[in-house]
Structures are given as C-alpha cells and as structure tokens.
Symmetry: C2
Subunit: 220 residues, 2 copies
C-alpha cells in the first residue's frame, strides 16, 4: 500500500489561488518518493479573481475546488469529505490562495480566520502526531490554527520580517530558512519551507519542496 499524502490546494494561480509551480513540484516529489497524492480543496467561492497578466482583480467569480481541479487533472476531493484517517500525511503548497481562500491572512493578518475544514485536519493531525507540511505563506495560516491552542509550533516563511512577526504574534515561533531548505518541528511533526516567499527561481523552490516532502514522508 502506498502512503497517502493529502495535498490541500486553494485555487489555481499564484495571485488568487494555489501557487502552480509549488503545487506541481509537490505532486512530483510525492510521486517520486513512491507515495500517492490525494488532492483536495474546499468547495467555496474564491475571495476574488486576479487577471494574472495585468495583476488586477476582475469581476469574475470562480470556485476554489473547481479551479484546483485544473492542477489535479480532475482528480480531486472536497476537503469537507476527507477524514484524518483517510490520509497518512498532509501538505499545503502556497500561493495567495492560502491567505485569501483557505484563510483571510492577506486581508486580516494576525486577526485572520481559517477555513473550518483546514482547522479540523491540521489540528487532528497535530493531536495524533501525524506528519504535516506547509509551504510559502501557508505557515502563517498554521500559526492561526494553533493560536490559543496548547501547541506552539516552530515554522518558517523564509526571512520576511513582517510575516515572521505576525506568526510570532499568533503564538508560534519563527525560524529563518533558505528557499532551498526546510525546517522540521520534530516534536509536532510539522515541516515548513519558504518556497516562493524567498525563492529566486523554480529550481530553488523545487529543491526546498523536495526536501520537505521527503522529510514529511520519512515521518509516516
């Protein structure tokens, strides 16, 4: 039986959804490690739609699950239907979707709200000491999930002082890290990597994500 890794997507495109490179590189690393990716996303409307050519919002409405299905080639589940026992590991690629659709960190910072199914899976994974990983801006969302809880994870988003400060305001610890690397909170089994928060090119991001996925799978 292959190990099953839940990959939580948040749309399709860096400015309003899941970062596409990070998502694909996550799927590649999972497959190369001999594990199986189980893609999932919430069945909700996106915060907004950004024209990625102009970098401006449009009047369109798009659904997070439907757009995430583009990255997953149609093979994707509604996160509301996924139970913690269905999967052995959990990973969140980044992109603004983690801060606009899975949470509203992009708007409300340390006072953000997080999607209830994300909270459920992340907290249950932590409670059961099952391994999970979070990339790019998604660690900020993780800090909120554990804000006021008994767990205070160590996370990285690279070296952005503003976001790192907000992570600490939410009660987590921040540790600097290069895009080509990852850090692991061994006690809580939470791996994180900066990805495009500080990565200068796709090769750096690929290296950090591959290390993240391998570390995640090694803890199953």
């Amino acid at each position: 039986m292959k190990k099953k890794i839940g990959v939580v997507l948040s749309g399709c495109g860096v400015f309003d959804g899941a970062e596409i490179h990070e998502s694909v590189l996550t799927l590649l690393a999972i497959d190369r490690a001999g594990a199986e990716a189980i893609c999932m996303a919430p069945n909700i409307e996106q915060m907004h739609v950004i024209n990625h050519l102009k970098g401006e919002p449009t009047d369109e409405k798009r659904n997070v699950l439907v757009e995430s299905a583009r990255i997953a080639r149609g093979e994707i589940k509604d996160i509301a239907e996924v139970k913690v026992d269905d999967i052995d590991g959990l990973i969140f690629p980044g992109g603004f979707g983690a801060a606009k659709n899975l949470s509203d960190f992009a708007v409300n910072g340390e006072n953000c709200k997080v999607n209830p199914d994300v909270i459920r899976l992340v907290r249950e994974f932590a409670a059961k000491k099952k391994p999970q990983a979070t990339c790019c801006i998604a660690p900020a969302m993780y800090a909120k999930v554990f804000d006021g809880e008994s767990i205070s994870p160590t996370l990285t988003i690279g070296n952005d002082k503003d976001v790192a400060g907000k992570i600490e305001q939410m009660g987590s610890k921040h540790q600097e890290c290069a895009a080509t690397d990852m850090i692991c909170d061994d006690e809580n089994k939470i791996v994180s990597t900066p990805a495009y928060m500080s990565g200068k090119n796709i090769s750096e991001v690929a290296e950090g994500i591959e290390k993240t996925v391998n570390k995640l799978i090694s803890m199953i």
Copy 2:
C-alpha cells in the same frame, strides 16, 4: 548570456489549455539547465472553458494569454510580439489547449487550422535550423504546420494509433516512443516527447520532458 527558450502556453488546465504539469516541468528543466524561459501565448479567446471537476463545458469565456499568465506567474508575452531572433529555442508543452486554442486539431483532426503566429515561429525556426521541441498532443499541430511544405519532420505522440495515423496523413512521419524518453529529428532539429499522451504518472512525464529540454538546449 543565458540561452533564451520560448515556452508557448495555450491556457491553464489540461482539458481546455496548457497541461499544467507539463508546463511547470518544462520551466523547471529549462531553469535547471541554466537557460531562461520566455513564456508566451496568443491573445485570443479560448475555444471553450471546461469545469475540470466535472469534465464539462461551462458558459464562461477566458483569454488564452490571461490564463497562461497563471502558469508564468505574470511574466508572459503576447506571441504576436515575439520575433524568431528574440529566442534561441522554442518549446510547446501539451494539453488540449494545443489542439483547441493553438490549433483546432481536437475538432477538425487532419483538416485543422493552426494559429498564424504559431505557424510563423515554427516555420521560421525550421527554416533557420534553430532547435525546437513539441510535447504531448502538440506534435499533431506541428504536422499540420509542415503539411504541404518541403519539410516532413519525424515526430512522436507516443503510441496512439489514431493520432499517429493523422500525423502521417498530414505528411509527417510518426515514430513510437516511451513517455520517459524523447525522439529527435536531427535534420530538422525538432525534438518530441509523448508526455501525458502515454505517461502514467508525473514522474514519467518529468523524465521525458527533462530529456527533451536538455536535448533542445544542447542543439543551440
């Protein structure tokens, strides 16, 4: 100076645009080889929009250049503005976008039409013996570009007998190939790989595309 590789995208999503995995794996292989990707796409409306969760068409309208910009993280050019001398190599990832937006091969088969800027770049590359590459279903479009021309390239789309037959009807030669490999028409400097036309997983596709990109760059 880095070698510049034009990457022609056709939207964002396997069923109505550029295949996302193939596109990202192409960008990764180019960067890892020390070259620079120059993403481009036509500024035209998509043939249609497919809901990738249900596999069904929707009433939406989307623009090929704007959607391709999602894969390119905003860094993309209108293909109409790209001259053959601006780039050293050219590559087309696959996805139905190559057969619906860059051409209408998906509807009209061997009687398809191809986007005029695609015709212009591909024919000028061939005329100047500059190297180019074509992945997945995009080789069928290549066969049409050379239909009736003096060049009769050897191409692969894997082992699909129906599509291979249409490629030969359009005057090109078809050679079977595994998804993990590529073939090269040395005389015309055209590399091709089956990618998801026959690839069973993302690792197989990554292997074939990496070989394709490396071969392409080696011929510059």
